[in-house]
């Protein structure tokens, strides 16, 4: 109930500020561009195979949808810090955090409310890309199941980055600092899996296991792998747990 109150308030302020529209517009533009590029590649490949006469297997899911999902997951890394940066930083700057913390509600309800609002905005943002996906159904017959798995993967990956971003937002009073720090962490979690491309040691594998993007690969293929689901769900838990600790420590340090 209190979670819902907080969540509603956060969503209201997202959609009353330029943040929600900025994020959605930016996402629509970039994902639309990626969609266009993927389609052009696909069309060229099909023309080529009809000219040469070699019948290559063509798949919309494999050649259009999968690269789009990979691209969207990378765009998420850039946009998620913009969604989370104000969650707590702004409340700390204006002092409204005192209102929340001295109200008879639990810290967990505050945190869940804010994270769920961020998730909702992220989901709406992903919804913009459904327009591109819908046109595929108009002109082709892609399989919807891998597509659903892909969206589930995007939500899980987004949820874990949003939880981390929420945590970072509790650490500062300055939205911009929270945004930049969140972006750096997202970027780091992305490039961690490059380790495994030039090294084959156990430590390199362990480090690249931590990469957020690496776990998205199976989802983009339409494969539900329990290992990756566990990774995302536990990352969400860790992010929200750190947020709770950080919110509590505000009072001990303040």
């Amino acid at each position: 109930m209190n979670t819902f109150t907080i969540c509603r308030k956060e969503l209201n302020s997202y959609f009353r500020s330029p943040i929600a529209y900025g994020v959605m517009a930016f996402f629509g533009l970039i994902s639309g561009y990626f969609f266009y590029v993927a389609i052009v590649f696909f069309v060229q490949a099909s023309i080529q195979s009809s000219i040469t006469g070699q019948a290559q297997p063509m798949s919309v899911n494999e050649q259009v949808i999968r690269p789009i999902f990979s691209n969207i997951s990378v765009i998420g890394l850039f946009l998620i810090p913009m969604i989370t940066m104000r969650l707590f930083a702004e409340e700390k700057r204006t002092g409204t955090i005192e209102l929340l913390v001295t109200s008879p509600i639990r810290d967990l309800e505050i945190i869940m409310g804010k994270w769920l609002a961020a998730m909702a905005l992220y989901a709406v943002m992903l919804g913009v890309s459904l327009v591109s996906m819908a046109t595929l159904f108009l002109y082709g017959r892609p399989d919807w199941r891998p597509m659903a798995v892909g969206y589930l993967g995007l939500l899980l990956q987004g949820g874990c980055l949003l939880a981390i971003g929420t945590f970072i937002s509790t650490c500062t009073k300055n939205q911009i600092v929270a945004g930049v720090a969140g972006f750096s962490v997202c970027l780091l979690l992305w490039v961690l899996d490059w380790m495994s491309s030039f090294q084959d040691s156990v430590s390199a594998k362990a480090i690249s296991y931590l990469s957020v993007l690496q776990h998205f690969d199976s989802f983009s293929k339409g494969v539900l792998d329990s290992k990756d689901i566990i990774y995302y769900v536990s990352a969400i838990f860790i992010g929200l747990f750190l947020t709770a600790r950080s919110l509590e420590s505000l009072r001990w340090r303040a």
Binding site: N2, T5, N12, T94, T96, L99, T102, P104
Partner: protein
């Protein structure tokens, strides 16, 4: 209603609140008075469960802030120094949000909001965005927020800071009107505020309580002595030095101290303090006139809370400890 015992709050570098104890009875308005940085806000934050105490205990309505914070929070309305407002919300929307946070039952919420808007006279801005409100309105919306769930205890941190004189008077009247239903602690560094609104005063300086007493008792403490403002001007353009006048005034019987204040256009002002129980004004007037000077002004200056306050808080540390010891005795029912 509020019971604080041996409360200490230590930050990494310094002690903000050092072993303070006090008690507030139900329905009282208590002024928390002290210079900036004395520990007023810290104490209030402990009472509202925002900060945990380093040691000592604080109880609100019988509930400990550390052990049953939820129960304490339900019974407290808190207005921090800067009102916790969301600029992007409309006033009514903000109050609905706070009402839900504070657990006001849904069926009562609308009526309750109308009541507090009436009480705080913010009904005319109910649909306005908070970011567009003037400072005075913001403060009143903050106050409305604090009383919305009809809490037993109201904690107001500098409720009149940054307001213009008219708004200050309105806010004070509003706070006075709230007494009785609520137990109120308000902090301020403005003395007349305490004299005008509060029944009890707790003076705090450098993290320690230096005095807890009723406003009347504190002022009567120094009532025996009299302080008189005198303004003297030379007659017929004869030159007149401040030392000359001062020496003459000091010779008046019953005078304990003469301090020169200022001289402007040849007019000299002094503050003269009497010994205990001496009425010196007639003698002073006679002395000035007999000396052949003009007596422009002569009036008694009541020893205000201000002077007691300065005496208690401006003194060096060991003096404060001494003051603490002497003030605790007449505190009587408070400590």
């Amino acid at each position: 209603m509020i019971k604080v015992e041996g409360l200490t709050k230590r930050y990494a570098r310094h002690v903000a609140v050092d072993n303070i104890s006090f008690e507030v009875q139900k329905g009282q308005i208590v002024g928390f008075l002290g210079p900036n940085g004395a520990g007023k806000t810290t104490t209030m934050r402990v009472l509202t469960c925002f900060l945990p105490p380093t040691s000592g205990t604080a109880q609100v309505a019988g509930f400990d802030v550390l052990e049953q914070p939820m129960e304490v929070k339900k019974r407290i309305g808190y207005l921090p120094e800067s009102p916790p407002l969301y600029p992007e919300m409309e006033v009514i929307e903000y109050l609905e949000f706070v009402g839900r946070l504070k657990g006001v039952p849904k069926e009562n919420l609308g009526r309750r909001i109308d009541e507090v808007m009436e009480k705080c006279s913010i009904g005319d801005v109910r649909m306005d965005l908070i970011s567009r409100l003037s400072k005075g309105y913001r403060q009143r919306v903050g106050l409305a927020q604090a009383i919305l769930h009809n809490p037993d205890v109201l904690i107001l941190d500098e409720p009149t800071s940054g307001l213009d004189p008219q708004q200050i008077i309105e806010t004070r009247d509003l706070i006075k009107g709230l007494a009785g239903d609520h137990t109120i602690i308000l902090s301020t560094h403005i003395l007349p505020e305490v004299e005008q609104t509060c029944e009890q005063v707790i003076i705090i300086a450098r993290g320690k309580v230096v005095a807890t007493d009723s406003v009347e008792n504190l002022t009567s403490r120094l009532r025996g002595a009299e302080s008189v403002a005198v303004e003297v001007a030379p007659r017929d353009g004869m030159p007149l030095s401040a030392e000359q006048v001062q020496q003459r005034l000091e010779r008046v019987s019953g005078v304990s101290r003469v301090a020169a204040r200022e001289s402007r256009d040849g007019r000299l002002s002094f503050t003269v303090e009497s010994q205990q129980g001496q009425h010196i004004r007639p003698e002073l007037a006679r002395a000035v006139v007999e000396a052949g000077w003009n007596l422009n002004d002569l009036h008694a200056v009541g020893l205000s809370l201000e002077e007691i306050f300065l005496e208690l808080t401006g003194a060096p540390k060991e003096d404060i400890a001494a003051a603490h010891a002497t003030m605790q005795v007449p505190a009587g029912e408070m400590s």
